[in-house]
Symmetry: C2
Subunit: 175 residues, 2 copies
């Protein structure tokens, strides 16, 4: 599938609703459990998405389209810890919804005609990347975290499902 | 996490909203694309969930709790093909929402006190399984298909993300 801004925006628009439908009002055990060790809980993941709205996708779009340095600011993989602090899941979900709406308003304000999607920036690890790749990565990043949320939640029932584990793709099973 | 019917139902209740938020109204390319070969598209997955509502989770609960044979009817992994036929995504999402609501009403009508969750049925491949395992598997089955939907969608942008693929867990990357 070729990247097409008109087909990417509908996915980006839906993510806050998807994540809110999945997590809002769930019993705490589902939202404060992780996959063991220092893996992320659902609340960490939502805080990470908020931090991405603030520091990643639109700020990097602006670097690509701006007049200054093309160099992206490195993304802080611990940035969610501060975002999460003292907030409930419901507050984080509201915050993510608002930030995403604001960021999509900025995105929709960009004139995507001509060669603009071929413009580039410099990613600290990946090197030169295009605006097209950045925006496709924003979509796939949303999907990565929906994927992760479903896996983190399923993990909590790894024992409870007994022999069904072998049929459950999300638990490494074959279906 | 121990299986607790009061914590399982909220997940089962949310699944139709999650899937509707993710898929309803999306451009066709997202919902009719698969991961190659005879893998499933999002529309196949929703049809499979409908077929499960009709023939899997509640019917098997009724077999466990009924007076007749404990033997489950084998599940038809091709059953979604008939369910999907001639229907739009929007129709399928509505159908899934209604069936899930009806099935949860039946589930909530069961008295889960005593040892009822220890009652068993005979799965054609897995052998003797408890009602507790069946209901936990229903939850994880929902999560498996949310997991799969996010992966099938992400797959469509595997090329478009360029070097970001290596950071995208849903595409086999390391984050």
């Amino acid at each position: 599938m070729q990247f097409d801004i008109e087909k990417a925006i509908p996915v980006l628009e839906r993510t806050p609703q998807v994540i809110e439908a999945l997590l809002n009002g769930l019993p705490d055990e589902w939202i404060y459990s992780n996959e063991g060790g220092d893996t992320w809980t659902p609340i960490d993941i939502v805080a990470h998405l908020i931090f991405g709205e603030k520091t990643d996708w639109i700020p990097r779009t602006q670097i690509i389209l701006g007049e200054g340095s093309r160099q992206f600011v490195p993304f802080d993989m611990e940035g969610h810890i501060k975002e999460r602090k003292g907030k409930t899941m419901s507050q984080l979900l509201d915050e993510f919804t608002i930030l995403r709406k604001e960021n999509l308003a900025l995105l929709k304000g960009i004139d995507f005609s001509g060669e603009i999607l071929d413009k580039t920036g410099i990613h600290p690890q990946l090197g030169r990347v295009t605006l097209r790749q950045l925006l496709a990565a924003w979509v796939v990043h949303d999907l990565t975290h929906i994927h992760q949320l479903s896996r983190v939640m399923a993990k909590q029932y790894e024992e409870a499902v007994g022999p069904w584990k072998q049929f459950m793709g999300v638990l490494g099973g074959k279906r």
